[in-house]
Amino acid sequence: MSVLVDTSTRVVVQGITGKEGAFHAARCKEYGTQVVGGVTPGKGGTTHEGFAVWNTVAEAVAKEGANCALIFVPPAAAADAIMEASAAGVPLVICITEGIPIADMVRAKQFVAGTNSRLIGPNCPGVITPGQAKVGIMPGHIHKSGDVGVLSRSGTLTYEVVGQLSARNIGQSSCVGIGGDPVNGTSFVDVLRLFNDDPGTRAIMMIGEIGGTAEEDAAAFIKASVKKPVVGFICGQTAPPGRRMGHAGAIIAGGKGTAAEKMKALADAGVTVVKSPADMGATVARVIGK
């Protein structure tokens, strides 16, 4: 079992003729994901490195039954690409693009809210259900199929925890990167709800970071509704206030959004909070008795 993506996922890649889009479309396909083709406006009717190319997302939906869009469109046009996919009725829209202007995301999020689509990201590694489908840029080979759900705001730190889990022979049900931007489509709470309801997920590993209050919201939801063990790590414990630590969303502003506050909120909600990023895998192992 899994959340969000599985063997029935049919992916259309927006921005497939770009370097990143083409490279990752091929990696996803190699992993076994059904990649039905891509979209680049003006290049419809051609093929690119073996993939069919359409002018619009709507065509990919009509002709190939695409039910998931994976976006590599450059920042200036990425919010528009998100809106195009959701207007075309694609139920799951995953945006990898980093560096989208905040004001564009405010509008795009409002637009998506008026459709039936779910947006993951932007500025995220995507979603993988090991052994079934990889819809994103994560290295597929480090994952193992299993029953720990992983969710995170960071990309490479997710690979780190997956590496630690797989090394202990602990597989993952699905791994979801929600992205490091201040305005994103799907929150920790949304993904926690999915993992909580997924019979194939036994425990949850959540990786947060400084900035905003998404982790505090997650803590409140965990306390009220999550019945499964949750292990949490917050990165940025040593970050100075007022400086943006790479991710647009990772900034301690006005004394708010510190790692200490988030760790306390999670611990108060019954989450097993890990201090060192080197201990994430071992802590999950201990919590699930493995």
């Binding site: 905040i102 780190e160 905003g212 990165c235 970050a239 790479g246 990772a250």
Partner: protein, 389 residues
């Protein structure tokens, strides 16, 4: 990105937001001329990006042009220290000379993103001139908020509600409503991440205008605002940060002595954390990004090792898009070119890791390999303390 007050006020003026009359000066003589032109009492204000300038001696009143010249000569060139500057202060290179006003009330007005609601919020308070975080903490009911519609923006009724909440009526209301609307138009048109007017003042003769102005811009949107990007003042930034930004590297200098080079912002923060847990202090945050080229790696290495406080380097990479063999290529090129003497600890995992490790082993470089993050941090911290790990 931040800009100076005088630059912010020029933008406010362009968008029809009232500001005091004034101009910027590089020399005391220019300050005198501006004061002469303005006539009457003036304020001479140091132009640095940090707040709290008044308490540090960076803002002075002057009754006549000669006094303005004297004030400017005291402020220009000084190392201005405020709670928001580095300990040694920031050198003042420009002053803003403005007409002084007889102030009746000081109010607060700002616009920023509300992350939780995923839209822009306009905030106002009658408690202007104070630290707004303090007002928010002690008396949150004294801050008014109007959340704008993500697509439709700020309604007239919302601007009126804020103005009434600030106890502005009659002629002042007629000035305040368009001021608030124009300020929001500026915020959107220029992709600001923060507009803060503290204080917004009402003068004894009934005028409403922005006495101070702080504008921050969304770095992600600078590509479509060349005119804003040109306002960047690199004197206000750490030279190593400026150098790193040339190569699209995310680098922030910190106070420790363990240089860190990592791919991905989350892993970079976690690496700083684990260095600290191992008893050391990180010298920097450095994210070389997901798809760094060997050239970027080489420059990253050069920049982080040019910080004289760095005593050891910890490279922590989990290769995804960034392949470990490309990382190795960059490291080998950098170390050979720079003739680097610092101890380097490498922890690498992920795509093409075996190939990358072999390249490094064959290169003959004196690297210390680490088995995992904790091991790498421990070894790097030991080197930084002058010990053998």
């Amino acid at each position: 990105m931040k800009v100076h007050e005088y630059q912010a006020k020029a933008l406010l003026r362009e968008f029809g937001v009232a500001v005091p009359k004034g101009d910027v000066a590089d020399t005391p003589a220019q300050a005198r001329e501006i004061a002469q032109h303005l006539g009457g009492r003036v304020v001479v204000k140091a132009q640095i990006h940090a707040g709290g300038r008044g308490k540090g001696g960076g803002i002075k009143l002057a009754d006549d042009p000669a006094a303005a010249e004297r004030a400017a000569s005291q402020i220009l060139g000084m190392m201005l220290k405020t709670p928001q500057t580095p300990a040694e202060g920031i050198k003042v290179r420009k002053v803003l000379v403005e007409e002084a006003s007889a102030i009746e009330r000081e109010l607060y007005l700002s616009i920023t993103l509300d992350r939780g609601r995923a839209t822009h919020v306009v905030m106002a308070s009658q408690a202007g001139g104070m630290e707004i975080e303090e007002v928010a903490a002690k008396t949150p009911d004294k801050i008014l908020r109007e959340w704008t519609h993500p697509a439709l923006g700020l309604g007239d009724f919302q601007a009126r509600r804020l103005a009434f909440g600030l106890a502005l009526g009659g002629e002042q209301l007629k000035q305040a409503v368009p001021l608030i609307k124009n300020l929001f138009a500026l915020y959107l048109a220029k992709d600001c991440s923060l507009v803060e007017i503290n204080p917004l003042v009402v003068t004894r003769d009934g005028r409403v205008f922005a006495l101070d102005a702080k504008l921050n811009f969304d770095d992600n949107a600078l590509f479509r605002h060349k005119e804003i990007a040109e306002l960047r003042d690199i004197h206000e930034e750490d030279p190593l940060d400026v150098e790193a930004s040339k190569y699209s590297l995310n680098y922030i200098k910190l106070d420790g002595n363990v240089g860190c080079m990592v791919n991905g912002a989350g892993l970079a923060m976690a690496t700083m954390d684990i260095v600290k847990l191992a008893g050391g202090e990180p010298a920097n945050f450095l994210d070389v990004g997901g798809g760094a080229s060997p050239e970027q790696i080489e420059n990253a290495f050069r920049i982080l090792s040019s910080d004289p406080s760095v005593k050891a380097v910890f490279i922590n990479v989990f290769g995804g898009i960034l392949r470990v063999d490309r990382l190795a290529e960059g490291i080998i090129a950098a170390v050979k070119k720079l003739g680097l003497k610092l101890p380097v600890v490498l922890r690498a995992e992920g795509t093409n890791v075996e190939q990358g490790k072999k390249m490094l082993a064959d290169s003959g470089l004196a690297l210390t390999m680490a088995s995992d993050m904790a091991d790498g941090a421990r070894k790097a911290v030991a080197f930084a303390k002058g010990q053998k790990p």
